[in-house]
Symmetry: C2
């Protein structure tokens, strides 16, 4: 004997989560069965509610439960400033910096023609329409530094130039609080190229 069918199915289902292998999945299943059946039912309900109820914001493509996401609804946010990110998790990272008070545009991916991800899949036609509305003054690029991220950044740059909107990119350099000896060469090269005047 190994597991009964329902337990086996539960363990196998847990392995769809990131960072969860067969052993962790087994531990999760047994923990819920032994002392958390109500927690298990609660998790199932939360999963169903989120999988069905979380949609995309009509304006910025971030997660939303209504037509517009909380950021796009917020009148205190500056609609002239739009930060371009690859995923909703990136929005969260920028929000946690507590530095940014503009809007976002979430691509939900990066350009990768070989995988069938073109401008349409990333909603770049929606972005183009918004750029042509004339409300946006500055686009801030915060896409990744991979090949796909760079390709996406350049595509967005072209769109913005056509619409006459200025484009900036978040600074690349050494991270705060990091020891220089642990910074990789490519980052350090970028930091040297991007050096700025220093004054007290």
């Amino acid at each position: 004997m190994k597991h009964t069918p329902l337990v086996e199915k539960l363990i196998q289902s847990f392995t769809c989560l990131p960072g969860v292998g067969p052993r962790s999945a087994q531990r999760m299943a047994y923990a819920l069965l032994e002392r958390g059946r109500d927690d298990g039912r609660g998790l199932a309900a939360a999963l169903n509610a989120a999988m069905d109820g979380v949609k995309q914001c009509r304006r910025c493509r971030n997660y939303a439960e209504q037509e517009l996401c909380p950021v796009c609804q917020d009148p205190r946010r500056d609609p002239g400033l739009v930060c371009i990110v690859a995923s909703p998790a990136d929005v969260l990272a920028v929000e946690q910096s507590a530095e940014y008070r503009g809007h976002y545009f979430v691509l939900m991916g990066e350009l990768s023609p070989l995988d069938g991800v073109g401008p349409r899949e990333l909603g770049l036609d929606v972005l183009e329409a918004r750029l042509n509305e004339g409300q946006i003054q500055e686009l801030i690029l915060a896409t990744g530094t991979t090949v796909e991220g760079e390709a996406t950044a350049h595509y967005v740059l072209d769109l913005a130039r056509e619409a006459g909107v200025s484009v900036t990119r978040i600074a690349q350099g050494v991270p705060m609080g990091g020891d220089l000896e642990f910074v990789d060469g490519a980052t350090l090269a970028q930091a040297l190229r991007g050096r700025r005047p220093f004054s007290s």
Copy 2:
């Protein structure tokens, strides 16, 4: 803004799983929303099915989806041999040794009067009745080596003696393939006390 309410609820629900903190929970929620909504619904269905459908075997208290668990239903298993373990996960560990062909009795805990866990909560009245049926020839104790495990082992020993059933305990000593220098003192002391004649 942080998360929308449904996403917040999902993240919070994930933290009920063992080994899942707020950051892993967030990663799980976003991974399912971004590229695994069907997996998420599947996990919810598996959770509901298991939480409601997994019951306890009438004879051995292990998990079962029918009256009896697969082990108790199996005619090739020796009903004269019963291994006492604390949890269903322990049954799995013993099964993986591929050494044991007897039955089990799963306590679903260990004696801990201060927490309100007495003999009744562990089904020891059920075990007593089975011992008095006369079919069991040997009880093998495989409870933990904590204070609660020891107390439980001694309680079961008394029950078995009254019924005239012989009791053994799984060997305690150094683990297979382990380097002696990494074995703790208490285990080594136990291994020395339990030394056995050696012959080629």
